[in-house]
């Protein structure tokens, strides 16, 4: 089970090939802009999170099934997933 950490708007297309069922995705930094429209995961079925600090800083209105977490929530997600991959 992997946590995929996306930090830019081009990260999602870059990591799709490696997503599998049970994985989670967290949007941080500029990737939170992806939360402003419905996110399409084409490989597997992943839970989507976004870092609230970066969402608030950029004034993004998240749509769809995105769960906001703070930094301690981000840490907790990493603790729950064996592999943390950054894209």
């Amino acid at each position: 089970m992997s946590l995929h950490i996306l930090n830019s708007t081009s990260s999602l297309s870059r990591c799709q090939f490696s997503l599998t069922d049970g994985d989670a995705v967290i949007l941080i930094e500029d990737a939170v802009l992806l939360a402003a429209s419905n996110i399409e995961i084409t490989s597997g079925d992943a839970s989507i999170y976004a870092l609230s600090d970066d969402i608030d800083r950029r004034g993004v209105n998240p749509v769809g099934a995105v769960t906001l977490v703070d930094y301690s929530g981000f840490v907790e997600l990493c603790a729950q997933h064996r592999h943390c991959l950054s894209w």
């Binding site: 981000f74 840490v75 950054s86």
Partner: protein
């Protein structure tokens, strides 16, 4: 359950958000009762150790923030020697070895090889990287 983290920082102050995200993550991990085995500054991340970084007066320098964290929690901040040299980040020893006439590595950081990152990957429970948004 308390876990140990190995953090790789491959983005640089000013240019991208990686070093700031890593700082906040590191602090949150420590505040949550986890430990940080090592923070390894690699590729562009070596710039986090540049003591000459002088941000605008209303911002705090990234190297100083890492130093504060290092002083408070005694975390191991290691700068990758090969990434550092090619980017002009040098400690006193490397400056002398290459006769550079000056050094710019901030206190609290130590220079080391990739073997230290490999060791961190083996010893820590979790490995997390913070990179630039073009990497």
């Amino acid at each position: 359950m308390s876990l140990s983290f190995a953090l790789l920082v491959s983005g640089q102050p000013c240019t991208d958000q990686a070093s700031l995200s890593a700082l906040r993550f590191c602090k949150a991990a420590l505040d949550s009762g986890h430990s940080v085995y090592r923070v390894f500054f690699f590729n562009d991340g070596v710039h986090c150790a540049n003591r000459f970084i002088t941000p605008p007066q209303d911002e705090i320098s990234v190297p100083k923030q890492w130093q504060a964290l290092q002083q408070e929690f005694a975390i191991d901040l290691v700068v990758c020697v090969s990434s550092a040299l090619r980017r002009g980040i040098v400690d006193a020893k490397e400056a002398e070895r290459y006769e550079l006439g000056g050094h710019n590595m901030a206190d609290g950081f130590t220079i080391g090889g990739l073997g230290q990152w490999v060791d961190a990957c083996i010893q820590a429970d979790r490995v997390v990287r913070f990179g630039s948004n073009t990497q």
